[in-house]
């Protein structure tokens, strides 16, 4: 059951990701990315990360990507026009990528000590309570710093995107 669910949503994620790369229109890419994120949220649930799954939905899919879509619609940017690429750039990309992924897989297999697999529901620390406790005790300082970072980001965004009054 675990494996089936994993395979289903992994397949969704990979397909959406490939679509993200292949689509020439940003909004298609954006939607594919949302698909990836949804699939990942489910995978997080499988891994026992309930809070993270919800956060993934709310923060990433619900806020960040909405911003992306919003900007794409605002700029109304069209699809990339095709350009004549040099041959090796056109044909070397996929093999290189495959090599890269294969290498990573190999490295993972080499480096990973053998261990019992992952069962749904056997990880109990992913709930909001435990994470919140850690977040506000052990990770309090990073948390506050991140909040300040967010504030700075907001101000920076406003400053950058405001239209000069003149």
């Amino acid at each position: 059951m675990d494996q089936i669910l994993f395979l289903i949503f992994a397949a969704i994620a990979v397909i959406c990701a490939i679509n993200l790369v292949l689509q020439t229109h940003p909004i298609s890419s954006a939607l594919s990315l949302i698909g990836v994120m949804g699939a990942l949220a489910v995978l997080y649930l499988l891994l026992g990360g309930e809070f993270i799954a919800a956060a993934q939905l709310i923060v990433y899919a619900g806020a960040i990507m909405v911003l992306f879509v919003f900007v794409i619609m605002l700029l109304n940017a069209g699809a990339e026009q095709k350009v004549k690429r040099r041959v090796w750039t056109r044909w070397s990309g996929a093999p290189l990528l495959l090599g890269f992924v294969g290498l990573m897989a190999y490295v993972v297999q080499v480096l990973l000590p053998p261990s019992s697999g992952i069962r749904f529901g056997s990880f109990l620390q992913g709930g909001p309570q435990t994470i919140g406790t850690r977040l506000f005790t052990a990770y309090l300082l990073p948390f506050e710093i991140t909040s300040i970072l967010i504030l700075i980001a907001i101000i920076g965004a406003i400053v950058l995107a405001r239209k000069e009054i003149d």
Partner: protein
């Protein structure tokens, strides 16, 4: 009677390899797409891939630090998105293009 296929737990390496694949695709998108926004989204994809391996490892190690890290990653990604999109808006305002290769004033 042999056990049914795909029953039993998922190996950790599957998650990691999936994360690797997504990361690689993100890299590919970063390299092959020429639209600023798409490039930016590829970066987000890479971040997600990393988050996945965070969560997987934290399952493996049976502690939720990985979740907290990926939470921070999300927050930072949000900040990054805000600023980055603002920058993209400004670039578009100034150059009327999102072609990443036409934004090459850094050359020489």
């Amino acid at each position: 009677m042999p056990p049914l296929p795909f029953t039993g737990p998922t190996p950790l390496s599957w998650y990691l390899i999936l994360s690797a694949i997504l990361f690689g695709l993100g890299v590919a998108g970063f390299l092959f797409r020429r639209n600023l926004i798409t490039v930016f989204m590829s970066i987000e994809l890479m971040l997600n891939a990393v988050n996945l391996s965070f969560i997987a490892f934290s399952y493996k190690l049976n502690q939720n630090d990985g979740h907290i890290f990926s939470f921070f990653v999300m927050v930072v990604a949000a900040a990054e998105a805000a600023v980055g999109l603002a920058i993209i808006l400004t670039v578009f305002k100034n150059r009327q293009t999102l072609e990443i290769d036409e934004v090459s004033s850094l050359k020489n």
